[in-house]
Amino acid sequence: MEDKEKKIESLHLKLIPYFEKYGILLLLVLMILVMHILQPDVFLSWRNVTNVFKQISWQSMLALGVFMVIVTAGIDLSVGSIMMLSLMILAVVAKAGAPWFIVVLTPLIAGFLCGLFNGLGITLLRMPHPFIMTLGTLYIFRGAGNLISGGTPISGFTDEVRYLGHGRIDLQWLGLEKSQYLPVSLVLIAIVYIIFWIFLNKSKTGKWIYAIGGNPNAARASGINVNKILIIVYSLCGFLSGIGALILAGRTDSGYPNAGLQSELDAIAACIIGGASFFGGRGTVLGVFAGVMIMGILRNGLNLMDVSSFWQQVLIGSIIVLAVYIDVLRRDIGTRK
């Protein structure tokens, strides 16, 4: 009897890490299957799949940034505003006639500096919680974006500037049709996610980011400079929002005041659906990607089926609650109390 229990226990111990890592992918595959059954002709068509990836392109950057912050048990509410401010700076610089390679760099630098500002505020001003600092900068950055642009949209960028968000990689040399191209933004997502996967899982700094989320006192006692790591994390989060701005500039060919409005909440939702814990130290890059995909596919699928966007809101909200509840159940089995 005891042997049997031990077997079950060790089976749990073996399975749980896999479930923790890949469980969310199961949900994603399930959703794809359901959508495919509901919309067999359209959903998995080349055109629709590339559409989904184009739609999630900039959100996936914000979500990845917010994810790193959430791993440290922090939060960044300002990513939508950072993206909007970076986009507006890009638009103003582009309109001023700067060469494309400078225009392309501006949102990345602007995003990085906004994130650095958050990080310095949280650590140097000793804000009681990152929520407060980034709530403040949510307003500050969007206000600043409107100040420099006069609150009106600025449109019309060159092809070079639009390349990352709008570019196409022709696949005709593979014998595919002209309509079957690869969006550059999809390649960009893949590259950025792989780089950050390596950074978070294989580098010392990445390990320390997880350690800070698990127990900041342990990290401090281990001689890790916690404030420095936090500043790096918030700066990278801002930088990724800057990449998001560059993609959005390509997609919409315009800097507009409502860019990224409430997208910080979408980014947080994607992280939570993907299995990141608000208490820090938990979650994977793959999970965030799955979270972003689930939200993207849900919106896309519901649009295909002509479901009202009000129902989309209700469904996304329900999935957040459900995903976290599954996580709670899983932790009940997995952790000793």
Partner: protein, 249 residues
């Protein structure tokens, strides 16, 4: 172990203020190689503050630290670690979300070079962890197990393993048995005894007379932030030490 040889670690005249509060006043302490010093005192007597000064987490307001006869100024826990001075904190200071091995090497992870990238060497972490746990006779299922899945005693063992993984010369333990089940206490005390045999100087802060009288060679009492009394174990008794804690000689 003789008191005539130079102490490994010596603190002289340590004073620490927090604003207007005097946590420590002119406190002296020393520990020799292979010796275990017990530090006792009531809550608020300044034991934990003293240990945090020794580990470099707090800077003393006055006083100096000597390590192997040389004066050292500690700016951070990293400095004390570099000297071979390790601390096992009361709240254990482990990251529950990380595996045992990564906790032991946290902040000092071995890396390997892949081109210009410096990546963590997980194989080496696992290898070194297993060898080290074997040496200390600590039993866990696997070095990959997350710390949050361990029992209190196992966590304490991991914390002690962590403190001794880098050739520590002095290990400071804050209430090492406070959070443990009775059957786990013995294992931790055995671990302390085996550390002493390897020539490590150990400082144990404890409320439990059983701990002090099982592993320590010398005991000192703090009372209201000052040195109150000190004796070798053979020259004192439990009742006397309990009296010191309450401020009676």
């Amino acid at each position: 172990m003789s008191s005539t040889s130079n102490p490994l670690l010596e603190a002289k005249g340590i004073t620490k203020y927090f604003g207007t509060i005097t946590a420590l006043e002119n406190v002296n302490l020393k520990v020799h190689a292979g010796e275990c010093l017990g530090v006792v005192g009531d809550n608020g007597a300044g034991k934990s503050t003293l240990m945090k000064v020794l580990s470099g987490l707090y800077k003393p307001s006055a006083g100096s630290l000597f390590f192997q006869g040389k004066e050292e100024i500690l700016e951070s826990p990293r400095d004390s670690q570099n000297l071979g001075l390790e601390m096992v904190y009361q709240d254990l200071a482990l990251a529950g979300n990380l595996p045992i091995g990564e906790n032991i090497f946290l902040g000092r992870e071995p890396t390997k070079n892949l081109g210009f990238l410096k990546l963590l060497d997980f194989n080496k972490i696992k290898e070194l962890t297993n060898a080290h746990l074997d040496k200390l006779k600590i039993n866990v299922k696997s070095a990959d197990q997350k710390v949050e899945e361990l029992s209190g005693g196992q966590r304490q063992a991991v914390a002690i393993a962590r403190s001794t993984a880098f050739n520590a010369k002095v290990v400071i333990m804050d209430e090492p048995t406070a959070a443990l089940a009775i059957k786990e206490v013995g294992k931790v005390l055995d671990l302390i005894n085996s550390l002493k045999k390897t020539g490590v100087g150990v400082i144990v802060i404890s409320h439990r007379m059983d701990d002090i009288f099982t592993v320590c060679d010398r005991v000192m009492a703090l009372f209201q932030g000052t040195n109150f009394a000190e004796a070798t174990l053979s020259n004192t008794s439990r009742d006397e030490v309990i009296g010191w804690i309450m401020g009676k000689k």
